[in-house]
Symmetry: C2
Subunit: 400 residues, 2 copies
Amino acid sequence: MVQRVYRQIQESALEARVVIATSVSQVDSIRSQLGSEVVIVTEPERRDTFPAIALAAAYLCDRLKCGREEPVVVMPVDPYTDMRYFETIAQMERAVLDHTADLVLMGITPTYPSEKYGYILPLQDGGCRFVEKPDAARAEKLIHQGALWNGGVFGFRIGYLLGLLSQKGLPDDYQALYSVYGTMRKISFDYEVAERASSIAVVPFHGVWKDMGTWNTLSEEIREDIGQVICGEGTDRTQIINELDIPLVALGVKDMVVAASPDGILVAGKNESSFMKPYVDQISRRPMYEERRWGYYKVLDYRAYGQGVHSLTKHLFVGAGKKISYQSHACRDEIWTIVEGTGTLMLDGHTRNVRRGDVAYITAGMKHALCAVTDLHMIEVQIGDELTETDIIRHDLDWQ
Amino acid sequence: MVQRVYRQIQESALEARVVIATSVSQVDSIRSQLGSEVVIVTEPERRDTFPAIALAAAYLCDRLKCGREEPVVVMPVDPYTDMRYFETIAQMERAVLDHTADLVLMGITPTYPSEKYGYILPLQDGGCRFVEKPDAARAEKLIHQGALWNGGVFGFRIGYLLGLLSQKGLPDDYQALYSVYGTMRKISFDYEVAERASSIAVVPFHGVWKDMGTWNTLSEEIREDIGQVICGEGTDRTQIINELDIPLVALGVKDMVVAASPDGILVAGKNESSFMKPYVDQISRRPMYEERRWGYYKVLDYRAYGQGVHSLTKHLFVGAGKKISYQSHACRDEIWTIVEGTGTLMLDGHTRNVRRGDVAYITAGMKHALCAVTDLHMIEVQIGDELTETDIIRHDLDWQ
């Protein structure tokens, strides 16, 4: 989704600088998808959309030296849209520049009385009423009254948001806001800003808009099952995505979403899938699959033994020409077995060429780096008493 | 199940020799559960119950030197029963010895008009009528007429079955029958023998009998979910077994069975789960988890690269005092990393002690064996152009 939206912005007539606000866990994945030059504002932790947008506004002003009068349009990465969407964003920019209102929203023309979206009902006095997830009858009535879906797209001047921060007694410079970020209230931009704004305008969008942000909405767009899936006897109106390397058999599964990935398995009724967040929040475990600047890793196995000893096994893929940076680990040994490809390995200052079948034994404290010459796969076995992604000491290295 | 039934037979008053008929893929697992002294007749391939029982009868006569007049009771390993079941089997043995009939069946007193079982209706002429999986109304009527569930338990003299083989033009000696096994028709003992028998008797059983042979019946007996399972919002009347190391979230899942294991994932309505066989038969892949005499292995990763090269990664557990036999592989190198425990490794005639952190590089053709001193875990990385369980050459080895 981020690749598509990024490409669409570049193909549009917008002369926009793109800044991505995201959490720290997504940074490597986004850089590997969009390139290392993309500008990212990293949220130190997840605190909903108002803190995230406020931090990004402060970053634009302090770090990118944008003026307080410059317009910003905030857009989510979830929806699938056609190019007219970006023309509407240009209209929103003009509305901000023209001082039409402090806050400019995009309203999506509803195609059916969905119970899943928020509605914006423009009022006669120029204001708006917001209605979250109405039932079908209420939605029908709202549409009849001229209500639009809230697309979560907001336009404003940077100074408007920084002013709001000052009003709330919060710092409006980036570094200070970053340092109090963990104390900010978890609240959405809709609740904290849009529903309280006194000067508001809505720009309607009539084109294709499909929300890919929940399984419930995404599954309407998926035509075929993905992965090793066998649907039999009585399976109907069900979307299955299987990213695991094992087969999935579905019998008598109706109106459901089934998603299996290295991080976990979801089996959910389409309606109930929208309410998964609190259950998923109960799961606190290390990531099992992550994209990195250099490729990706997948955790294959994790075991705890006696005396606090653990082993962890990963499959690593390093793209041709990519590098794993020079690093060492305090609490673990690593045994690397190259299973495909060729590369150059640096161990404590000495380089050697490696290829399929080669094994490297990297003890705790030993500095190591890898540069893949061709696409390279390896199995990494970690042994130690603390096996975390944070046990990593970076070292400088100038590859010849 | 096999452990419980085996123990119950030993605790019962039956003075029976137990012989297990099973397929080759189950042999190691059964020996590791019941001990290496258990007598197993191995079916060269799956061909339903008539060929399997016939082969076992020939084995009893030829290899175990049982007389043709000796009684045999064939019982499936699936049902959960109380000890009275084994008293009924003793009654069946007496009925065979008393020449009550050529074939003696066990009839389970029905507790409800199940649509899932076969029914035996004893007729006035001393014969029986068999009705497979009737609908509820027909089942009700059958029970009213005195029908019993077919428990799949059969008693006969060995010579009776060997005689049937001769009548059908099939050999009745073990070696000859084994060699034509692959040409025998796939047919159940019920259809081939019971439904055609002219001399038949039914011994009723009134005790506890629960079929654990299908998910549908098994799930009635499972009270709690097993493994990392989070049930939320609207999940009801559903049994979940998760043997994977990743969490499973179930929302709005009703009247279903969900089973996730290293071999695959099943998501099925309880009714539809009985019809999974043809779909599972479509899956032809290597086993992902197997119990062995020495412990177990679990496949973690399998990849195919260019030029026919593959890599396969396993986690192996070898119990203290157990041995992996002396062997070599023609088509692959193996890299073993010991992640826990201690043992003795034999490589091309040389022994060395190994412990956590040690790595062994076993090239194609190199003879290797392992004896675990303590419980031992290792990660095995295989690299080669053919990675199968059958690429194994056994060698003699006399550990000192």
